[in-house]
């Protein structure tokens, strides 16, 4: 038998009888399992998830669920096909032994795999002071349980809600509060809501939206501490300008932390920024060499994107989890010439203050913005982001049906500013600075050092940074 024929035979056998383990039983994990079956994989699939629930959908948690329209336990993800998997729910993966090809579970069990998919997503960054975070009435929002508890608290109703952080989730929570007619104060360290994702120009519009809907929006400020009453319930937030806000519900929406701790010591390129992988979802080891048997998808993955100068992008969006999982699953059971890249044009949607916000591309990659359609005053518009004369992203407020057009332009490295529309454009179509904050320098990233001397022994190592 020739070598390629041998390899093909191995793949055939693997497809028939291989063992695939998926860690992370949520959107990416489920869709990957379904895709594996759709690809004709008949071996064993084991799905490990630390939540006790079957895969459920997160976007409704901060919208319909908080409003009380849909109970938190009615968000189960629809099944697209039979996955016939062994589900290990309610148990955490605590380690990965790549030499023995085993995943270690918290209950001591070891699960062997031929191929592994890492889909452990992210978790909410908690309020940093643990005592304050433990006060009753302090919430974050990532899981079904979080949403159920917060919904209950909002229905109580509280006298005032403080939302810390005005990213997408913080803004959605604030919006729900106003819909429920609850007084809400939003404290945002940046100059306006959504600035990190969409820049200062759009942030200003978002800020007006908050204010028009009666949100007490405080920008350029932080919460310095939370104060509890004698019963251990939160009652006040102290702000960095010395003022205080009385509240009995505090929602910390401080962004996310990638669930990678369980991979420590496994020698993968994983850390603060997620798990590095190629555009086909194949994980990199610590040296930046691609692995053969480990794949990554969803919020925890970070891969180079050809449209964005091959920068490594982590995309914490629903579409990315679904399509990344499908691409990874495909590549897990196919041979090299048939590998598929996951070259998603990133996209996001959000519902807040009665408005539908959508974006395509990577807005922070741009440095200029131009309003192309509709009217900012009426809060229904589309705007494009550009960098060096090329369109890299677009955002729409109640104008989502046009994003397809911008998406196409972005895919084709179209010009910036884009060709003007034939109608309904703002009087002034001049690009202006998009006003993104300077990229912050993340703290607490370990140092990387190179070890070994001979080319054959060279390797990289993470060393915790001394404080």
């Amino acid at each position: 038998m020739t070598v390629p024929a041998t390899v093909a035979e191995l793949v055939r056998q693997f497809r028939a009888n291989g063992r695939i383990v998926i860690v992370g039983a949520s959107l990416a994990g489920l869709r990957a399992a379904e895709a594996l079956r759709a690809e004709g994989f008949t071996g064993s699939v084991t799905i490990i998830g630390d939540e006790p629930y079957e895969p459920y959908d997160r976007p409704p948690l901060s919208k319909q669920v908080l409003k009380g329209w849909v109970p938190a336990d009615h968000t189960k993800l629809p099944r697209l096909r039979e996955v016939n998997a062994q589900w290990r729910l309610g148990v955490t993966a605590t380690g990965l032994d790549r030499a023995a090809k085993q995943v270690r579970l918290a209950d001591g069990e070891q699960i062997p795999y031929d191929r592994l998919l890492i889909a452990t997503g992210t978790r909410a960054r908690q309020w940093p002071n643990p005592d304050e975070a433990a006060l009753e009435g302090v919430y974050s929002l990532r899981s079904r349980d979080d949403a159920a508890q917060l919904q209950k608290a909002l229905a109580a109703p509280p006298s005032r809600v403080v939302v810390i952080g005005a990213g997408f989730i913080g803004s959605e929570v604030a919006s729900v509060c106003r819909e429920l007619d609850l007084p809400v104060t939003v404290v945002e360290r940046g100059s306006a809501p959504l600035v990190g994702a969409l820049g200062g120009v759009i942030g200003e519009i978002a800020a007006e939206m908050h204010r028009d809907h009666g949100v007490d929006l405080r920008c350029g400020l932080g919460v310095s501490s939370l104060e509890g009453d004698s019963g251990g319930h939160v009652r006040r937030a102290h702000l960095s300008d010395g003022t205080t806000v009385d509240a009995d519900v505090v929602v910390a929406s401080l962004g996310s932390i990638r669930n990678v701790e369980w991979l420590e010591g496994a020698g993968l390129a994983s850390g603060f920024w997620g798990v590095g992988c190629d555009a086909g979802g194949r994980a990199f080891d610590i040296n930046g060499v691609v692995t053969d048997s480990i794949y990554v998808a969803g919020d925890v993955a970070r891969s180079p994107h050809v449209l964005y100068e091959y920068q490594f992008l982590a995309m914490e969006h629903w579409d990315n989890a679904v399509l990344g999982a499908e691409a990874a699953a495909h590549n897990m059971v196919n041979l090299e010439p048939h590998y598929r890249p996951h070259l998603l044009l990133p996209g996001f949607w959000s519902g807040q203050f009665g408005l539908n916000i959508k974006s395509v591309g990577v807005p922070p990659f741009g440095d200029e913005i131009v309003f192309t359609q509709g009217s900012v005053k009426e809060r229904r518009f589309a705007a494009a982001y550009g960098r060096r004369g090329r369109i890299v992203a677009a955002v729409a407020f109640d104008h989502g049906k046009w994003l397809e057009y911008y998406g196409k332009l972005i895919e084709q490295s179209g010009p910036f500013p884009p060709p003007p529309p034939g109608w309904d454009h703002p009087p002034d179509m001049k690009p202006i600075p998009a006003e993104f904050p300077q990229p912050g320098v993340p703290t607490a990233i370990p140092d990387v050092v190179l070890t070994g001397h001979d080319p054959s022994e060279r390797g990289a190592e993470f060393r915790p940074r001394p404080r």
């Binding site: 192309t372 229904r380 049906k401 046009w402 397809e404 057009y405 196409k408 060709p419 034939g422 309904d424």
Partner: protein
Amino acid sequence: MVEETPWQQALRYANRANPYPFYEELRRTPVARQPDGSYVVSTYREVVQLLHDPRVTSDQRKRPDTPSNPFEATIITEDPSEHDVDRRRMMRHFAPPECPQTIADFEPEIRRVFGELLNDMKGKTRVDFVDEFAFPGPVTVICKVLGVPLESIPRFHGWIEAALDGLDFGPEANDPEQQRRTAAVPDQVAEFRQFLAGLIDQYRKQPGPGMFSGMVNDGGPEGLSQQSIVRNAMLMLFAGHETTVNLIAHSVLNLLRHPDQLEKLRRRPELIVPGVEELLRFESSVQFWPTRSALEDIEIAGTTIPKGAPIFLAYGSANRDPERFENPDRLDLERPDNQHVGYSQGIHYCFGAPLARLEAQTAVGEFVRRVQNPRLVEDPPPYRRNQIFRGPRHVWVDIDGIRD
């Protein structure tokens, strides 16, 4: 004689039953200039691209030649911002977020309507599934949704038929017989409008059930003008059933032509939802739409559509594009990734699609479940004249009976 382009041939009445071979030829030039200076776009990718291009207008008043059109100044022939505002003003009496229940609430009624039509066939051995099923079902439903008295169906049916017969985009437009039909259109449309104006006036004096009454009595800041209500009411009454009639008629026809698929649907009723999508792809109820034109030079697929040129987007052809749909001429009720353009895309995406889908799913589901041993009598059946809203005039079927 000059040879006709594939598009012109596709539009000939003789080819109404099967324009697809001409579409196939047409797709060899994705954006094809016609002798009259219009551009026909027939491939899926290009159709979708233009549906999202804000340099393409749907408003014929912006064209140098400004042809007349019975649907002038309605949401389907307006651009933003007018379009967005008017569509929203109408939508709020029909669909979420303001009316999340409207369509769902109609489900029992739809089931009842189609159920009774089938009951009426009991004892017959030969049935015309257009006159006795595909037409009366949707027309009854749309009348109830809009608030049009059922007694007036025969009247407006006549006006609509006449208006449709008079609209011809093909080489036969200049035949004397067709010219006579075309000449009759304005009067028919005027009468239709007058009828609706009267009805709407009545609702203004005394509110009643349905969307029309909701639209005239909208106390919100965003009311529609009387004129605009009448024009859009005509659009809705018209488009709200014509398309569904043809969809249901074609569905019956095509299921009978593909007994294996019919059998599959009978055994696996869960396939009804994807099945109706496939039937929609297979025979798009709206074959093309004629009111678009270019506001700028648009470069696409190696062609430049010059500013001012009319553009025909051929949905019927795009939905059979082998570059997008594997084996497009095969009816496959389980087709994966079936994102057809049967309801268009972009801002003019069919307003009534959720209602039409529900009707078609119900009608086809009940047909499959209840009609015993149906056999097509005549294939191909006779077709209606109109090219946009293409459909059989009759679908005669021999049956053994109607199950309960």
